[in-house]
Structures are given as structure tokens and as C-alpha cells.
């Protein structure tokens, strides 16, 4: 996949603003297909994660981003052309406020189809399984998307990552960033084990992210 001409510049700018220090624990960057999944506290999360991958990995890696935020104007142009983001609908925000339990609509499964299409057999994804941005202190319970992806693609490699301080650079509800130094830690890939239940797998995946916070 050919990278957009300004992708390198955008990536360098993102690394500069976020001052990101990248670490790969017992692993190294690798262009093979995988799903990178991390904690979510800022709109900059996927940009910084994407920018921190080496160019050869970055050009085959597509972030999954919320349609309602990234589908407008300049943001859309960046998301679609430069990041090659997979825009998915954050299903029914209004319903969420009314019912605590989301009804088992066809919506999430549509999103999974969409992601699998986008991956083809060579491309990787960046995914934030919490679904929505948190305050940066706690990692919320993971939504089931990660599990369904693995079910549909047996053997899919999942690479846990933790982003420190992004919530300080651009917290929820702020427009202008403050340039704190951030840190991004990658860990060796995990996979869905045969017969592993959905809650057990999601808890294990979440733990794989959380343990990177203070290492």
C-alpha cells in the first residue's frame, strides 16, 4: 500500500506535539497483519499510535475511528486520505442514554464486517475497545468487537499498547493541545485461545493493556 505524500509529515508533526517516547517490550515493529488495541482517552490517541509505527508498518495500518467526529470537513479529508481510517458508526448514542443495556441490534456486526473488509488479508487495524474516551485514569471494560473479530479471523494477532499522558495533551472536551511528553508502550501479541469465553478473553485483553501503564 502506497502512503499518502504528506503522511510522513503528519506523522512527524504528531510525534513532535505529543513528544511520544515509544517502547516495544519484548517485541519489535512488524508489518504483518495485526490489530493494535489500546486505552482511549483522547482524539489524538490513534493519530499518535499510527504516527509511532515505523513507515513500513504505518502504511499498512488503518485506524478505526468514530464516524460522528471524523466525518466532517478537514478532519474527514485527513481521516480518509492520510490515515486511511475505517470510519464506523458509534451506534445509537441516544439509545445508550435511555437504556443501560444496548439491544442486540445488527449494528455492531455491521461494523465488524466493515473492519474485516478493510483489513483484507494484509492490512492491520488500530482499535480502541473501550469504545469511547475515558478520563485517562481508569481503563473501561472492553466492548465485544475485539472478540468477534478474532472469532471471524482465527489466529488474528492482537498487539496490546498503552498510551500515557494523551489525556493530558488533549483531554475530552478541549480543542487546543498542551504539549506534555507522552509515552507509548507496545507488548507482544496475544490471540484468542480455542474455547476461550467472551468475558474471559475480553478481561484478559484488557489486563494486557492495563499492565503496561506503569512498566
Amino acid at each position: 500500500m502506497k502512503a499518502h505524500p504528506i503522511a510522513g509529515i503528519i506523522a512527524a508533526a504528531a510525534r513532535l506535539i505529543s513528544g511520544v517516547q515509544v517502547r516495544w517490550l519484548d517485541s519489535e515493529p512488524d508489518p504483518r497483519q495485526a490489530v493494535y488495541f489500546a486505552n482511549h482517552s483522547s482524539h489524538l490517541d490513534f493519530v499518535v499510535l499510527w504516527a509511532s509505527l515505523p513507515a513500513d508498518v504505518r502504511c499498512v495500518t488503518r485506524p478505526v475511528a468514530a464516524q460522528d467526529y471524523w466525518n466532517r470537513g478537514l478532519r474527514r479529508a485527513l481521516a480518509v486520505n492520510v490515515f486511511r481510517a475505517v470510519l464506523v458508526a458509534r451506534h445509537a448514542k441516544k439509545t445508550e442514554e435511555v437504556h443501560d443495556e444496548r439491544p442486540a441490534s445488527g449494528d455492531p456486526r455491521l461494523a465488524i464486517d466493515h473492519m474485516l473488509d478493510a483489513m483484507g488479508d494484509a492490512e492491520s487495524l488500530i482499535l480502541f475497545p473501550e469504545g469511547t474516551r475515558g478520563t485517562g485514569e481508569e481503563v473501561a471494560a472492553f466492548k465485544s468487537g475485539l472478540y468477534y473479530l478474532c472469532q471471524r479471523r482465527p489466529g488474528l494477532r492482537l498487539i496490546p499498547a498503552y498510551l500515557n499522558n494523551l489525556n493530558r495533551i488533549l483531554p475530552k472536551g478541549e480543542v487546543l493541545p498542551v504539549p506534555f511528553i507522552s509515552r507509548l508502550t507496545f507488548a507482544p501479541a496475544i490471540t484468542l485461545e480455542t474455547g476461550e469465553s467472551k468475558p474471559a478473553f475480553l478481561a484478559r485483553a484488557r489486563e494486557a493493556v492495563c499492565r503496561l501503564k506503569d512498566i
Binding site: 513528544g19 517516547q21 478520563t135 499522558n165 493530558r168 483531554p171 478541549e174 487546543l176 498542551v178 504539549p179 506534555f180 511528553i181
Partner: protein, 314 residues
Amino acid sequence: MKNLDPQLLWALCGVLSLLAVSSLIGFAIKVTVKKPEAQATIRNLNARIAAWWVMCAIFGLTLVIGQVGSLILFGMMSLLALREYVTLLPTRRADHRTLFWSFFIFTPLQYFLIGIHWYGMFAILIPVYAFLFVPTRLAIAGDTESFLQRASTIQWGLMVCIYCLSYAPALLMLKIPGYAPDAKLLLYLVLVDQLSDVLQYVWGKLLGKHKIAPVVSPNKTWEGFIGGVLTATLIGTALWWMTPFRPWVAALVSLTITLMGFAGGLTMSAIKRDRGVKDYGTLIKGHGGILDRMDSMCFAAPIFFHIVRYFYVR
């Protein structure tokens, strides 16, 4: 390019030779000393020397460009230092906008004031206006948790990383009768201050036994302190010809620079120890962050500036 006078060139040549000699010594130590327990120190020493080449190249280049070059260099260093400082300290969500002001309004403004030579405003922008603005903005943000601690954390960051450091390029706005151009004065301050740091490190590694402040800064020893201060003062005295000072004044001024530099290193270390880290950052290989390199400068620059301004500017 008007700053390229012969004295400045001599001083820059001196720096270049010093770097060359250091690299040779670093190489000789690497080849001859094979003790396994010394290897980490030797690697760090050579990384430090390599980083010095880069730092001297950047600083030399900005000196040659002139005032704008120095303002951009020190302005960038202020931003990077403030970034290291606030990252290390606990800030809360409600501090966000105040921090934005600190980075993107007060810092550029402070350096802009130097650029237009408005001394009166340069000297009070942060100690008066920012000092009052910070707690006001925090109060408007409405979070009272550890209020005074948060306000003073930001005020202190602005004072040390922006205000104090900006005194170094501010030397360029001093007009001293019978002495020009003034880039030499900035080079003199940087040379004495940084050599004092380096020489304290060297004497400490060679002879260091008695710790001077084991809790705050475990690597600082009396031997390093006395040896470094004396030799740096000696070099500062020997360089009197590039300053407006007579030799004995140069000696006193260099002594002041080295002592203030020591105070800066010690104070900034106390913050690091309180936060449980060794370095402020990782930007300069072998040295740590910008703030690890500039801590002595933050304390030495304002005092040096005011000594020169009080006694030499008419």
C-alpha cells in the same frame, strides 16, 4: 553576520579544540580501560561528548545568525524545558487552559519582548502579570483541589523554565559603552556555566569521595564541587578579554556564575528526587533532558544579567 568579530571567532575556535581534545580523551579511555564495571560510565561519557558536539554546533550557529537565532534557540529550549517540567508534576484536568497560556502566550511573549528590547516589560511579564494570571485562571476553571499547590507549580515552572532562562539571550539587548558586539557576553556565560558543570562532573569522577548532598544529588561530591568551581573560575578569569570586565572582576563574576549554577543543579535535583525520577527527559543522549542540561543556566543567567546591567550599562 555582523557578530563575527575576531574575539568571538577565537572563543569559538577554543570551543572546537576543546571538543576535539575531549573526543580524543574519550576514545583513549574507551580503548585502554577494559574494566567491566567502568564500561557503563565510559559509554555515558562518550555519549555526552558526542551530544556536546551537536549542542555546540547548534549554539554556535544561532550565535552567528544573531539575536533572532538566539531568541529562537532559547525560546525552543524554554518550551522543551517547561514541557519536561509539567510532565513530571501532577497537574489536573482544570489546569489545561492555564497551561496552554503558559506555553503558547507567555513564552512567545517573553521572548518577543527581548526581541523588541522592552526591558521594563520583559522584567515583569512573568513575575507580575503571569504570577497573578495563573491563579486567577485556575480559579475561573473552578477546581479547588490542592489549589495553591497547583498554582505555585505552574508559577514556578514559568519562572524557572521561561523567565530565568530568557535572561541568557536577554544579554543581547544590553548596550555596554566601549564593548561590542554583545554575543560574546552570551557565549561567555554559556561557556563558564557549562564548563563548571562539566568540570564538576570530571573532578567528581576522578577524585570524588565525600558526598555533598547525598539525599538530593547522590553524584555531587565536595571534591567535584571545589575542583569544578575553581577550574571554571580560573578559565572564566582567563577569558576576561572577551568581556567588558577587568581580570579580577571576571574572576568574581565567574565564581558567581559557577556558584549559582551549582545552586540551580541542586534545586532542580530536589524536584526530581521528590518526583522519584533520575532525569527530566531523554532528549539529549547521555545527559537526560533539556532541563537536566540547563538547570544551572536557569539560576546563573538572571544573576549574571543583573550584575552586568547594574555595573556596566549606563
